[in-house]
């Protein structure tokens, strides 16, 4: 099947000039994209990079002549293969979508319709756009599934989305985007939700298929290392405006703008190393031989773990490895099937209800999603005030003073923030409030469950620095759960690597990150993208094309 467009590689495919997009909130129109220019040639891949709120996705969708609900294009021009999309009839734009410009969304699990089999959703485009009859589209799907290196390409299409793993879904979605052999695909953070070991395979598959079919692409991401592997050129956006644009290698080697440089520098945060734990020091928390299960499904298998006072232990692993379950068992939210947990020398009851309040107070937890962890109707005063009343019995003036003190500690100006609602805070500010809430109980031990995963890198770094400072000032002990190895490098003293409910390796950070590694740790470490455009090629070459290694999940 020939590509839709008739042009040759190198011709201009997409030309966006002075594009302006507005979004409506609080009954007012705000600028989201403020006069961006963009040119894309056939077969070229452009990386769009920036923090959340930069307008990357909005710009990507605008390339399809599409805006999300509550947004409008207020000016500029989008020409696709000579067709002006702004102001074009809806029907003209509809016919282009899917057929000549396709879209790959961030979460394939959410973007596949749960009610239909994969192949039905694959065939819908070609059949409805009148490109292929159903039978041929099915055969084509199998072909593309194979190209995307999906297991069982003959049969996988006949599964429902929930029966397929995240990484496979993301590849199936890329195959679906290719179904009409479009001239352009918009990839909107396609690997952000994936584990690193899965990400590398998806990246390889996407890159291969786009190159093989000479499809142009706009690749949107916040991850520089990822975009370095994928893009020919990179454009950096900040609050709806272009910061700079350059060829990938040039951009990586010599970013012109300060903002770009600051993005590049995010991963440099390293905590000062702590002195060795003295011999004979009793750990604050000890876990011995703990196993747990959800119903009949085993999730933790014989976990041993100890955490010394004032230290940070990072637990890393892919989703499903049992990281968060470990946290739940420690907090008494999931009673272990067997094993023993000791805190400060005393054995902990299996459920939090059975533990004395004084013990509950000393162990706190901060969650990944600050959005759902905060009651949207409670003001900050109330959010922080509740644990103060519950655990410390503070009332009135004393409580108010303590709230203000805590806000100062998390670097939020008390007068400005104390009466705000969560909806009036940014993501990083919300996470800070969650930290303050945990601190209100005056704990010794805090579990941080992916606390920076949902945040932009600059913001995440701020949170990490804050946690580090608090640890030093108060002697806190952290159990840090994350899938991000960069975070581990920044903040951990000790590292625990988990895989399928078991601990495969644990020890001081420097030992874990230095060879020799356990096989899995090696895979994990080697899967983290690096800021080197040749990283992916090198890794693939090392693995000898054994791309499906460990990807079956």
């Amino acid at each position: 099947m020939a590509p839709n467009g008739q042009g040759r590689k190198g011709d201009t495919l997409l030309e966006i000039t002075n594009l302006q997009i507005q979004g409506r909130s609080e009954r007012q129109w705000h600028d989201i994209v403020k006069g961006v220019d963009l040119t894309l040639r056939r077969g070229e891949i452009l990386g769009l990079i920036g923090e959340s709120g930069a307008g990357k996705s909005t710009l990507g969708l605008a390339a399809m002549g599409y805006t999300k609900g509550g947004c409008r294009i207020s000016g500029g021009s989008v020409r696709f293969d000579g067709i002006e999309l702004i102001g074009a009839p809806a029907e003209t734009r509809r016919k282009l979508r899917g057929a000549r410009i396709a879209y790959v969304a961030q979460s394939a699990a959410a973007a596949f319709n749960p009610a239909y089999k994969l192949i039905d959703q694959y065939c819908e485009g070609p059949v409805r756009h009148g490109i292929l009859p159903r039978k041929k589209a099915e055969a084509d799907a199998v072909q593309l599934y194979r190209e995307m290196r999906l297991p069982d390409p003959e049969d996988i299409g006949f599964r429902y989305p929930h029966q397929v793993s995240g990484g496979q879904l993301q590849r199936a979605m890329t195959a679906m985007a290719m179904s009409c052999r479009p001239d352009l695909i918009i990839f909107d953070e396609p690997t952000t939700a994936l584990d690193v070991t899965t990400q590398i395979e998806v990246l390889a598959a996407i890159r291969a298929i786009v190159r093989d079919h000479q499809t142009a692409a706009i690749y949107i991401t916040h991850d520089l290392a990822v975009v370095a592997q994928m893009a020919d050129r990179i454009k950096v956006l900040l609050r709806g405006e272009e910061v700079e644009e350059a060829d990938t290698r040039q951009m990586l080697a010599a970013p012109r703008e300060d903002y770009t440089r600051s993005l590049w520098a995010v991963r440099d945060f390293r905590r000062d190393p702590l002195p060795e734990v003295p011999q004979g020091d009793t750990p604050l928390l000890t876990i011995r031989g703990v196993s747990a299960s959800y119903g009949a499904v085993p999730v933790l298998d014989d976990i041993d773990l100890s955490i010394h006072r004032g230290r940070t232990v990072a637990v890393v692993g892919e989703s499903g490895s049992g990281k968060s379950t470990t946290a739940r068992v420690i907090m008494g939210l999931l009673p272990p099937g067997k094993g023993r947990i000791e805190f400060d020398g005393t054995a902990l009851a299996p459920t939090s209800r059975a533990r004395p309040r004084s013990l509950q107070r000393r162990m706190q937890m901060i969650h990944q999603s600050a959005d759902t962890a905060l009651n949207p109707r409670h003001r900050i005063r109330e959010v922080i005030g509740r644990p103060l009343e519950f655990f410390c019995g503070l009332r009135g003036r004393a409580k108010e003073d303590r709230i203000r003190e805590l806000l100062s500690q998390i670097e939020l100006e008390p007068d400005q923030f104390i009466d705000r609602l969560p909806s009036e805070l940014s993501g990083g500010q919300k996470q800070r409030v969650c930290i303050a809430r945990a601190l209100a109980a005056e704990p010794d031990f805090i579990i941080c469950d992916e606390v920076t995963s949902a945040l932009d890198q600059l913001v995440a770094e701020g949170i990490l620095r804050l946690l580090d400072r608090l640890q030093r000032e108060m002697g806190l002990t952290y159990l840090f759960i994350t899938h991000d190895l960069a975070t581990v490098r920044s903040i951990a003293d000790e590292v625990v690597v988990m895989l399928r409910g078991k601990i495969v390796e644990q020890g001081p950070k420097d030992e874990i990150f230095a060879p020799p590694h356990h096989d899995y740790t090696a895979l994990l470490l080697s899967s983290v993208p690096e800021m080197d455009p040749d990283w992916l090629d090198r890794r693939l070459a090392e693995r000898g094309g054994a791309i499906d290694l460990g990807a079956g999940n």
Partner: protein, 325 residues
């Protein structure tokens, strides 16, 4: 997941579980109804003889009907019979309860089914259209008019329909007094106005739920994906959104079908339709416990079965439950 059910089909497991709780519910219902009828002042003897009751006639009637036995004995006797499928005789007219109720119950179900056959497709269809053209004049028109229809009392809607279609236009009869053995077509004709009345009463709720359920989905990524695949607007709504909105729609449909059964009682007086309602009212007034009990059991069982059907359909409409990993 599957180990727990020991290979049992999840739909079958759901059905079994619900049927068991349903039967238990029915048992409790019989106890409550019996107690309630007992608590009402007077008994079948005083209510049958009414103004002309004398101590002698009362005693004679009570002896004839075994009302002198303790309440628990009478309940036990009834329950024993009911468990063997014998719902006893009407105390008032000594006809078998099953004979008395069967024809009326069928009539009630017929009319409810008729109304449902009109109302459900119409409500879901209009709900889809309203979602498709949301915030348009069309949307506001049908939302407004269906709301207006439920704001009026049932009998008012019925009278308006009678006035227009019976009295002025003469298209349909105002009496829906179907005779036993009437032809199906004739039944449909004479019960048309009550069916339309019921339709108007239950439609708004289902229509608005359909609309809301669809609109709730419209912001979801897979709906946006369907648009970005260049699918037509109606296809996005009907093919991509509707199947995923089925669970809430099925639930509200089940709720309304249950209401329809009760709704028949409300319109049967106006249209003189021989359903269960009048029988139930008379039987309560006469303290005719076996008939009250049987009629209430039919209502309760219908409600339980409708909910069961809704649950099963919800499972079937959800691939996650139908095709576990």
């Amino acid at each position: 997941m599957q180990e727990g059910y020991a290979g049992m089909n999840p739909i079958l497991a759901t059905i079994m579980k619900r049927l068991m709780t349903g039967l238990l519910t029915l048992l409790i219902v019989t106890g409550i109804i019996f107690a309630a009828v007992e608590l009402l002042p007077g008994d079948i003897a005083t209510e049958t003889l009414g103004q002309s009751a004398t101590p002698e006639t009362l005693a004679a009637l009570r002896a004839e009907l075994h009302l002198d036995d303790p309440a628990i004995v009478r309940y036990g006797r009834w329950l024993g019979g009911a468990l063997q499928g014998d719902f006893g005789m009407s105390l008032a007219n000594k006809r078998p309860t099953s004979d008395l109720i069967a024809a009326r119950a069928m009539n009630t179900f017929f009319l409810a089914g008729y109304a449902a056959a009109i109302a459900v497709p119409l409500a879901v269809g209009l709900g889809l259209l309203a979602a498709l053209y949301r915030n348009s004049a069309f949307d506001r028109l049908i939302s407004g008019s269906t709301l207006a229809a439920i704001s009026f009392p049932e009998y008012f809607v019925a009278y308006i329909l009678i006035l227009v279609f019976s009295v002025h236009l003469g298209w349909f009869p105002s009496l829906a007094n179907v005779e036993p053995g009437a032809a199906f077509g004739h039944r449909l004709y004479v019960t048309f106005l009550p069916a339309v009345t019921l339709t108007l009463i239950v439609m708004a709720h289902m229509m608005r739920m359909t609309r809301a359920a669809i609109i709730n989905l419209l912001a979801l990524p897979y709906i946006e994906m369907a648009r970005l695949k260049g699918m037509k607007h109606w296809r996005v709504i009907a093919v991509h959104a509707l199947p995923n909105a089925l669970a809430p729609i099925i639930n509200v449909v089940a709720l309304n079908l249950a209401y329809l059964i009760v709704g028949v009682v409300l319109v049967e007086v106006v249209f003189v339709y021989p359903g269960l309602g009048q029988l139930l009212v008379d039987s309560v007034a006469k303290r005719d416990f076996p008939v009250v009990q049987a009629a209430c059991l039919i209502f309760a069982a219908t409600y339980i079965l409708l909910n069961l059907a809704a649950d099963v359909l919800s499972v079937i409409s959800n691939p996650r439950l139908l095709h576990p990993r």
